[in-house]
Symmetry: C2
Subunit: 407 residues, 2 copies
Amino acid sequence: MQMRRTVRDLRRHNRSVLLSSLYLGEPQSRQDLGRSSGLSQGTVSNVVGELIEEGLVVEAGLVDSDGGRPRTLLRVNPDYAHIVGVDVGETGTRVEVFDLSMRPLATSYHPLPSARPDPAAVVAQIHEGLGEVLREAAVPTDEVLGIGVGVFGTVEQGREATVHAQTIGWEAVPLERMLRTGTALPIYLENGAKTLGQAELWFGAGRGVQHAVITLVGSGVGAAVISNGAISRGVTSSAGEWGHTCIVFDGRACRCGSHGCLEAYVGAEAVLDRWKAARGGRAVPGTDEQTSLAELLSDGGEVAERVLTETAGYLGAGLANLVNLFNPERIVLAGWAGQALGARLLPEITAAAAERALRHPYGQTSIQLGQLGVDAVALGAATLPVADLLARGAAPDKPSARLDAPA
Amino acid sequence: MQMRRTVRDLRRHNRSVLLSSLYLGEPQSRQDLGRSSGLSQGTVSNVVGELIEEGLVVEAGLVDSDGGRPRTLLRVNPDYAHIVGVDVGETGTRVEVFDLSMRPLATSYHPLPSARPDPAAVVAQIHEGLGEVLREAAVPTDEVLGIGVGVFGTVEQGREATVHAQTIGWEAVPLERMLRTGTALPIYLENGAKTLGQAELWFGAGRGVQHAVITLVGSGVGAAVISNGAISRGVTSSAGEWGHTCIVFDGRACRCGSHGCLEAYVGAEAVLDRWKAARGGRAVPGTDEQTSLAELLSDGGEVAERVLTETAGYLGAGLANLVNLFNPERIVLAGWAGQALGARLLPEITAAAAERALRHPYGQTSIQLGQLGVDAVALGAATLPVADLLARGAAPDKPSARLDAPA
DNA sequence: CGAGTTAATTCGATCCTTGAATTATGGCTA
DNA sequence: TAGCCATAATTCAAGGATCGAATTAACTCG
């Protein structure tokens, strides 16, 4: 039960409502805003005036009517600020700068030095990448709204976010504090699966949806659960570990230490393992997981097809569980392996899910492929500072960008 | 993104905050309220004055201080209104009246005439029970805040709530409209597992917790997921169908038509089936499910123990899935079979869950037995009108109960 | 070029919260 | 028993926000 206090919070909230509507929707006139928000014309005019004066919103053309003053369309000013998105993946670190409309302006990528990287090395890479992209895009630091970081492992939010990644030996790594040593910019840390989910929610296959699950199938398996338009985090932000739900009681061993996890059946590594086993132990073709999976998908032989059919069954069962537990409007199959498998097997996968889910909630769900590709982790990370901007209705500090307004 | 509008919504919201704090917490003074809500003394005084004038809140004694004016404690007036809670279960219909503090005043129970009851028959039973309990408790209709109904099956909220219950052939039954024909009181319809969850959340094992899952194990298996202090519903309110998540890929047939559902392993009926199979097909002792399960728990023989150990394993795996997906602070094992199994097997169950859940989220969760028993479905149903009262900060219509206040 | 139409702004009325000052209510001590 | 002190609760002017009606702005059409 959050508490609102003074009449000023009202204004903050209404700014937030209008700003969000402009950012997430199409350009709108003041009239449209009034109708959709329920605010009176006068108030909309007033608030919008403030936003324009601060440079957050700009007028964007007129739409002519058949007689009558044409409405002026409004949209968020893409040049109001820039945002940095960072994707700390299992193989490397990608840093990107965006303008406020999420157009990418510059990118940098550094592969990780080892499979079990030292946190300090990762932090150094991020700082380095940050300098590179800001220089390349010629963005001064004080025009950056904030830095969003999507990282593998569990991010525990608190006074200072910490990262847990059992598989590579990170235990309560104070990544936020470590990052702060190299920059004064606001830092937002979040699990990579969740940032990708946020990206698909705002700009991809989940647009406009209030209840969704964005699944992420790569070598590992995860999910971002969106409930009432917001990501579910649970008490220590580790909700959504779909990959480690048990789907075959006492089944195949999983790298998490348990048995029968979904990841141990549909994660890319697991799929290839099962293929290898089905080939009587003969190594699978391909030089890395991605090419091997491509080989499997194009093999066409009886053994490969059987492995794929089984995979579709397991994945369908996993999706059916999501349908039954969360009753979402939409399920998005994302992640490199998910996209690859889905491109070929989506009919089989949805059929397997339909067979196992309860009829009624299944009928309310559409299962789609992700639209943004894997790079979307950095994009999603960059949405974190923006989400904060929208929620506050204003940038944290900058009091007002322009002072050349009439007195 | 809900939109607040005028400055009056502010007042409504602050009323709601103070009222909720008084209802859900201990009696508090105006000072305490100010501190916990962040509102100024003056506003608290003002709002509380209104609430007292309307009869919603009463002063409840003084607490003396060491020198200085003693604070007057405030609490919600238990006699401000009454609430009716209805439990439409698979075997019968229970109707109860409560005062606002949820003290039960009268109860009525009608067993269902058949295993596949006609909706009209159920509605007639409810109306009948409603008349009975109001008469017995001598509560006039206009003192009833509303009727909460917890019903088996899925309740789809919309303009008018409808009920889907695949297993007994109810398809989009317009129960709310049917109930309205017999009474003018506000009606709140919700799935029974969710109302029980609400009861445990407010008054039982989930008190004060923001992220919880209340599981309900009876003949069927369900759950209520509480996220940020509120029940998760999903897009058509059918979220939480934990019983029909797949836990053994292509395992035992479930009555939902799928295979390997959790319910097909740990639902009371399924447990007894497995016991029967383990006895080589010999019927199990006991006249009904409840007594049979009690026999199983007290049998002590090797076969029975094996069945119980397996049950603990399956249930633990199901709970581990909840831990991984929802990252709750607390999991409550409720429902008659859940309570019975848990009373004896909780250590085994939690051990099985610990073995399968991710270490970090599991460490954040405590798994407990339900505290309220099965009758809590009606209690939870009765909380629905109260929750609405708290959210609005006032009763929907009644403008002001007392007019004998000073001008 | 003026009438008609629709968009946006302006401004007084109303409502709410804050924060300081004031009033209320008790214990303690001389 | 009277007066002082401490704490609780109320009162009230100031500041801020929204609404709604009236006004001003901008454009089309005949």
